[in-house]
Amino acid sequence: MTAFFFVVNALITIYAIAIASAYLILAILSIIEMRGYLSKNFFIDYKLVLSSPLAPGISLVAPAYNEGLTIIDNVKSLLSIMYNNFEVIVINDGSKDDTLAKLIPAFDLVKVDFDLRYTIQTKNVRGVYKSRNQAFRKLVVVDKENGGKADALNVGLNISKKELVACIDVDCIIEPDALLKMVKPFLEERNVIASGGVVRIANSCVIEDGRLIEVKLPEKLLPRMQVLEYIRAFLLGRMAWSKLNGLLLISGAFGLFKRDIAVAAGGYNHNTVGEDMELVVRMRRYMHEHNLKYKVAYIPDPLCWTEAPSDARILSRQRNRWARGTFETLNIHRKLFLNPRYGLMGMLSYPFWFFFEYLSPFIEFFGFVYFTFLLVTAQVNWPFYLALTLAVYSFALFMSMFALYAEETSFFKYTQKRDVLKMIWVALLEPIWFHPRVVWWSLKGNIDLMKGKKSWGEMTRQGFVQYKKK
């Protein structure tokens, strides 16, 4: 028993030191990379891309399921993105509402004789529509049988004729210059196969005609917690992985891919709810297995704004899905684990995700159970326990403040004076009020996975319409 306690204590300590060190190293690398990015792009006039005949073509692929409420505004917003050579492909994934019925008259759509090649197998496509109105000549609408987001994105890959494909969520707000910025890594280096951008929370922001007019902190606490979480994850995590060329995840809300590589890798996987992460891992794996040099880039600019769940029930479904998606991807690609054939991805990225992203909710929960056991058996070393709790809390606070400082000195989106105070308060509260719930939802996701749950869960959205500027 003595040995058991010793081993458990030692393992928990080692794990805690390892994860804290890893996050700290990533944070430092992220800051270095971000400074380099800001410095490099200080001179850039992105409108150069807009006016150049040499800019590559981009297909914006946006799956839509039961988006009748906001689809017209969303599509108009996508069509007004600043870029020359692009097309918007909206895929109606067997919606049960009036998504397609609304699109057809709004954009004067008619069915066309599109010769669709099922390069990637998908559910049946019922029709491809184009507009008779020249103003909407860049729009393609596809009507298909319901098959899920991955299936809809694969239809987009099949239909697309451009060199690059941007996979987005139709209800996200994309910054007008997002494509100009996202395409730059592909122009700078020939071997870039994918680039991702930062996703920010749009709750309480002022939106007008599908455009973000004014950035505001969410009014409710739950989305505000997610703002901090997103800033930490994107600015202090993904930038570092991009620097190391070990990024495994590009947000499904907004990612840009080389079409031929995505297709050669097999497109999106239907068998996982984490299809965004799984595609990036598979594309990377494809490049390794064909001995091709490549890079997955990352843009720290806030380019995409999404509505975060403001209801705990809906947020729990989202985190449940994320946990399941993470495991599914890690399981599908378990061959990468500590496999030197896959370079840094196999030796560092994958183990990191497995130990520190996937396992951490289990370890935290185990720690809680272990503490409860010690408490019940009156074996808690109270001074040490309190000191350790303080250390963990302080570290969490430190990382949150680091993230807020990084945001302040880079993109500075929350400009109201009171925003700083509000976010400091959120950072103080988060480890106590928000993080335990996230851990619980992740655990539950894994339990549901063991039960065989495959669905996305209903993600009820309020839509952005109620935040229009007066």
């Binding site: 008619v110 507009s131 122009l187 700078e188 250390a391 430190f398 807020l404």
Partner: protein, 372 residues
């Protein structure tokens, strides 16, 4: 207490944990302090910059107006220049604001107004301010200096900027390249002759834009670089041939059809098609059978042939492509034949059973809403 807990009872460990907590809390507090002070400093800086810009703009407007009137007295100039000098003082921030303003204005002006801005820049000694940046160890400042000097057309900086083509920092190298293009009044692009570093698509785009502003008649003959050792320079030259429609280079481009570098070969093929260089069509025909199994080259060939096919031999080759295993190649062949005057001769008589997807492609090609 369980003896296994003994190591964790050690006061030194407890102290260590507490020390780490204090360090983390101090760090968090520092960040909070920086957060607030950063806002204050930023706010103050923005306000100061705005004030300076307004003051500078007034004087610059008057100087440009005086210059355009041609009969202004020197004293009038002197007064406003003194004003600017006084406002700038010794402050580097003020000098930077002034430089940014002049560069920003010059981007949107041309002719005598642009020349006046250059005069202001030089008379205020801001070229020295920009030149000093070239000595900075910070690559961002170096690149900034290069941009300012090239935007304000300071020819004496050319040699210094040229030496930065070999910089280890990519941003500095790129800005140096673009800077040299801006400063190259003859548009000779001589610096490309011995350029051995990478030329990314991004840089090519920037150079193209810069060249677009100049008189096309004075652009160099890009075929000069078709045999450069640096493949990126060759690709740049071929692309610029296309963009600036140097149609006389078609025969020289044809010599690149057999280049060992596939990217060069395919680009040369595509550009000949885009330039409607019918004289190279026979060269292309010779490649059809040779490169049949290469999908990338076949696609370039079929697209080009579709634009420049002249005789039965050419049209027959296009018709052969209908049987190509690659769908994209097939598609382009059908499209080219459909839109040619030879559709009835070659397409309609094609035996359908051997190409079951020909109907689907034809319907697609015929649909007016799908013709981009």
């Amino acid at each position: 207490m369980n003896p296994a807990m003994a190591p964790w009872n050690d006061p030194s460990r407890l102290e260590t944990v507490l020390d780490l907590s204090i360090i983390a809390l101090l760090g968090a507090s520092l960040f909070i302090f920086f957060l607030f002070t950063s806002r204050l400093v930023k706010g103050g800086r923005v306000r100061r910059k705005t004030k300076l810009r307004e003051r500078f703009q007034n004087s610059i407007n008057v100087i440009v107006e005086l210059d355009s009137s041609h009969d202004a007295k020197p004293a009038a100039y002197q007064f406003h220049y003194s004003d600017l000098q006084k406002d700038m003082g010794r402050s580097n921030l003020a000098k930077q604001v002034m430089v940014d303003q002049l560069v920003g204005l010059k981007r949107n002006l041309s002719g005598s107004s642009a020349n006046t801005l250059i005069k202001v820049y030089l008379r205020l000694g801001l070229d020295q301010f920009s030149l000093r940046k070239l000595n900075s160890y910070r690559s961002k400042r170096k690149a900034q200096g290069i941009t300012e000097l090239s935007q304000m057309e300071v020819p004496s900086a050319t040699k210094r900027i040229k030496s930065m083509l070999r910089s280890s920092n990519r941003t500095v190298r790129e800005e140096a390249l673009i800077g040299l293009v801006r400063l190259d009044r003859d548009m000779s692009l001589d610096f490309l002759d011995d350029y051995t570093s990478r030329l990314s698509s991004w840089v090519v785009m920037r150079i193209h834009r810069q060249l677009s502003f100049s008189d096309k008649r004075h652009l160099p003959d890009f075929s000069r670089w078709y045999r450069h050792v640096n493949a990126d320079v060759v690709l740049f030259a071929i692309e610029m041939t296309r963009q600036f429609r140097q149609i006389n280079n078609a025969s020289k481009l044809a010599e690149l059809f057999n280049d060992a570098n596939q990217r060069i070969a395919t680009l040369a093929i595509e550009v000949c098609g885009d330039l409607h260089s019918v004289e190279v069509a026979d060269h292309l025909i010779q490649l059809v059978k040779r490169d049949w199994s290469n999908d990338i080259v076949s696609l370039s060939l079929v697209k080009s042939l579709g634009k420049i096919a002249q005789n039965d031999l050419h049209w027959q080759a296009l018709t052969d492509y209908i049987n190509h295993p690659n769908y994209a190649v097939k598609f382009e062949a059908v499209r080219a034949l459909y839109f040619s005057e030879h559709e009835s001769k070659y397409l309609q008589r094609w035996p359908v059973p051997s190409t079951p997807d020909l109907d689907a492609i034809l319907r697609h090609v015929k649909d007016p809403l799908l013709q981009s």
